[in-house]
Amino acid sequence: MASHAITEVQHVEENYLEVKSRWRGIFAWIFSTDHKRIGILYLVSSLTFFVVAATIGIFMRLEQLTMGETLMSPDVYNRLFTLHGVIMIFLLIIPGIPATFGNFFLPIQIGAKDVAFPRLNLLSWWLYIIGAILAITTLFLPGSLPDTGWTFYVPYAVRTGSNVALAVFAAFILGFSSILTGLNFLTTIHRLRAPGMTWHRLPLFVWALYATAWIQILATPMVGITLLLIIFERVLNIGIFDPTQGGDPILFQHLFWIYSHPAVYIMVLPGFGVVSEIIPTFSRRTIFGYKLIAYSSLSIALFGSLVWGHHMFVSGESDTANIIFSFLTFFIAVPTAIKVFNWTATLYKGSIALEPPMLYVLSSIFLFAIGGFTGLMQATLPIDVHVHDTYFVVGHFHYTMFGGTIWVMLAGLLYWFPKMTGRMYNKKVAYLAWPFMFIGFNVLYGTMMYMGWKGMPRRYYDHLPEFHTDHVIATVGSWLLYIGILILLGNLVYALYRGAKAPDNPWGGATLEWKTTSPPPLENFTQEPVIKHEPYYFREEDNG
């Protein structure tokens, strides 16, 4: 007797790493529109660039170990600090957290299957890689690497014989990639939240990405047009900033910083979001001041676009403009401080577990606070006039960007690594890397600030005898820091192949990514989640 049984094809959910597509090998990655695979693509590429640019930094420090020309000529030194800046800023810090963890976890944290425009998402990674390749291609072309510094200031950017036009075009393409990511995230957050995921139940990482995406969309086109105009000027001789053709180079600085100051919030806001995720998880209690943290991201995005003039205090801005920009710069410290206060209040009476991610986050808050306070010093007009273009600025910048963003990115990597790969790394080695990094960091950049305060100008390949001891100390710090980074990343690479299998929720996190498997299935959840609580709800789920 024939009977017809209607059954579903057996439905075992495979995780996203096992799912077969019509592409094989590396093509299964670089042609994938899965947000998780794209996140990993960004992660691998940006960390590779990180190691490259850090190595360049090591070489620059080695040149400063001795006086006079030893390792490289001044010309090579100029090109190296430009390359170091361009790679770190455009290829690591800007896409670093949003395009890696944002891509991977934004859809999961709001309970979606993917981002709103998956193909656009893949396109933005491709643009990122094309931009990176173009930037590196300059090395092999006549003129070689640009020697202008990452800011591409005119008139030097127009006059120099180095290959500025192509490098600037690369930055333009990277900006386009950044815009597409922002556009994608905004639409995703607006349209693809799971049932019950109201705005005030969004994890704070999502809020941070939301504010970041707005800056990406509103500010990036401004640098886009500025960079295009440099290309016009170099290639077509259309002088817009050239004084001999009636132009004004200061206008370039304005347009550049109208983007590039908000851009430092593109760099640091997602980091704040990661901190707001890690602290509640390892304090085992809900975040303190959820709404304040969420809205302070938005207000940073807003006020961050009004302070660009503080980069130009000594460029001949009027005193009135200087005073206004100085005042507004002080003002922007308020929402940032709100965040730090709320994080500290979250720790208060929490059940703190000092796991590796937490250790790195707490030290990051310490480093970022130093960066923040020295930022306020520079917002003060009389101080800025003296420390402008010295190592003090370099130190401050690294305390905020490295201490605030990259440091948190590494913490996020330690936090989410088991979820992304399904493997657990060796925690002891992760602890071991910490003293190297923390001590190395402070020895390197702390000393830089100190000698900047004494008057050591930045971007010089050589130094005067009175700065020699300081430079030797800083160089030793750079070795410690570099060793720490290599231990940390090496540990993760090792874990990728040999690590123990990670449980679904190794840290006891409460947000949605911890409620799915490690690694997550192709469409993130076996069942569409329904959200009933605020994001950091650590009590047992009641099924009633």
Binding site: A2, S3, H4, A5, I6, T7, E8, V9, Q10, V12, E13, E14, E18, V19, K20, R22, K113, A116, F117, L120, I179, G182, L183, N184, L186, T187, H190, R191, L192, I217, L218, A219, T220, P221, M222, G224, I225, T226, L228, L229, F232, L236, N237, I238, G239, I240, Q245, G246, G247, D248, L251, L255, I258, L522
Partner: protein
């Protein structure tokens, strides 16, 4: 015992999302041009007399014609969207074709306008231009970069409209790819698709080496049925075209009518 496997194909479409994405993109375009308008404002403040003198040399007639052409093209693209919504594909295609034609007219006009200027030796970095006052030089530099950038946008918009023309003229196609981790279970079985109440079943045998099941469905919207995916695409392209138009509406007086 014979078992029947039901494979589900899903399609995710979010028209609201697509529209939101487009508006955000338009915002970025607007800011791109804002940068140029800021530069224009600063330089005009500095060199208002020279700007006035230089602007006398532009051909207001060609500028006016181009303004009318672009405004009309904005109308035709709006009509095309409305026609497609009311399901008259033919009219939609005619109107879209007219828009593309106007875009071409605009670019041809621009070409003649620019080449006349270049013929008179007025182009960036030319000897003729360099002998003039700084304000006039920067005026023409701005003129070339701003109208050039705008012309580039017209060109891109035209390409997008041509792509949509092809898309709407062609029969709609849909491709379903069945994602299932265990497609190999289907080896040796038959796949059957219910075509419709009257048309019955379409049956096909699956071979030994199956990695993925791909089902391609071609359909044409019937009368009274709107072609929604194409409408959204056309609407978004229309929005982009209106942006190109709006920017020109600002460029025209700022360069041609300030004398």
């Amino acid at each position: 015992m014979k078992s029947i496997h039901a494979l589900t194909v899903e399609e995710h479409r979010d028209f609201e999302g697509a529209r939101l994405g487009m508006w955000l993109f338009l915002l970025t375009e607007l800011i791109l041009f804002t940068g140029m308008f800021i530069l224009y404002a600063m330089y005009r403040l500095k060199y208002s007399a020279e700007f006035h003198r230089a602007s006398l040399e532009l051909d207001v007639v060609i500028g006016t014609i181009n303004t009318l052409v672009l405004l009309t093209s904005s109308l035709t693209v709006a009509l095309s969207i409305e026609a497609l919504k009311r399901n008259s594909r033919k009219l939609a295609l005619w109107m879209l074709g007219a828009t593309i034609f106007f875009a071409l007219v605009f670019l041809v006009n621009k070409y003649f306008e620019w080449s006349a200027k270049i013929h008179h030796g007025i182009y960036p970095g030319s000897q003729e231009l360099m002998q003039r006052s700084l304000g006039e030089v920067i005026y023409f530099n701005l003129y070339y970069s701003m109208t050039g950038l705008h012309g580039l946008h017209v060109l891109v918009g035209m390409v997008v409209l041509i792509w949509l023309f092809v898309l709407i003229a062609r029969k709609s196609q849909k491709k379903y790819v069945v994602h299932n981790p265990h497609v190999e279970q289907l080896v040796g079985s038959e796949i059957a698709i219910l075509k419709g109440e009257k048309d019955g079943w379409l049956v096909d045998k699956i071979g030994d080496n199956v990695e993925q099941v791909e089902i391609k469905i071609t359909y044409e919207p019937k009368a009274g049925e709107v072609d929604l995916p194409n409408i959204i695409k056309l609407e978004n392209a229309g929005l982009y075209w209106h942006l190109v138009d709006i920017i020109w509406i600002f460029l025209f007086p700022l360069f041609y009518l300030i004398s």
